[in-house]
Symmetry: C2
């Protein structure tokens, strides 16, 4: 099965509030997580909500990382979506698991952009000429 990307979907329950309640701290941890995967960071947005809660996304050349925190539930929801073989999403997962001191976790990995069932069948791969004409 050939897939373009790996998407780690992690739900961190019972987190350390110090790690998920402050926008600057969350941004620092997420950027460090992204760097540790070997990703190339393109841009990021981090935002704090009133009265509390943080949302943040990091666009990487290899897809994205995202986080939403609910301090009132000690909960942080994280997506680590990477493509290519050189970037390792699970390194970011392990780093954040430790940084958030999460006591309960639900995590899965999804394959994104599964190509094998189409190859040779539907000939859906665009020719480079077709793209360059756009």
């Amino acid at each position: 099965m050939k897939a373009l990307g790996k998407h780690v979907v992690a739900e961190f329950y019972e987190c350390d509030l110090n790690a998920i309640n402050d926008v600057a701290k969350v941004e620092e941890l997420m950027l460090e997580a992204a760097k540790r995967t070997n990703a190339t960071i393109v841009d990021s947005i981090f935002h704090s909500f009133n009265p509390y809660g943080v949302s943040g996304v990091i666009v990487i050349a290899e897809s994205h990382l995202a986080i939403h925190t609910w301090p009132e539930y000690k909960f942080a929801s994280v997506d680590i979506y990477t493509c290519g073989d050189t970037v390792k999403p699970w390194i970011a997962y392990e780093y954040l698991k430790s940084a958030f001191s999460a006591h309960n976790i639900s995590v899965i990995e999804m394959k994104r952009g599964i190509m094998s069932s189409y190859d040779g069948e539907l000939n859906h791969k665009a020719s480079l000429k077709e793209i360059s004409n756009e």
Copy 2:
């Protein structure tokens, strides 16, 4: 089962290249999709890659939308993650499905931040006082 969010994970195969190859067009479509869900848009990043491919994320007050396109495979990978009852992620899905003219689609909805199994058991909900002390 009480969940904080809904996350629609959509894989759009065999898309119209005109809709997924141009960063301005992708941004326009994604922002329109976000608006149609009734979300409050906080900020967004859209980026085009060399030689082609677009990545974009929109932070909404109710979580985020993200897209990555592989024009060489006529493929667009979309995440629509919302929380609360007033924002409707499937409206964005339907809009993008049509806008991309996708001929093959794989789509699932994940519940994010499932709380029911913890309520009353682990008492993991932080008190407001605890948070305000951070």
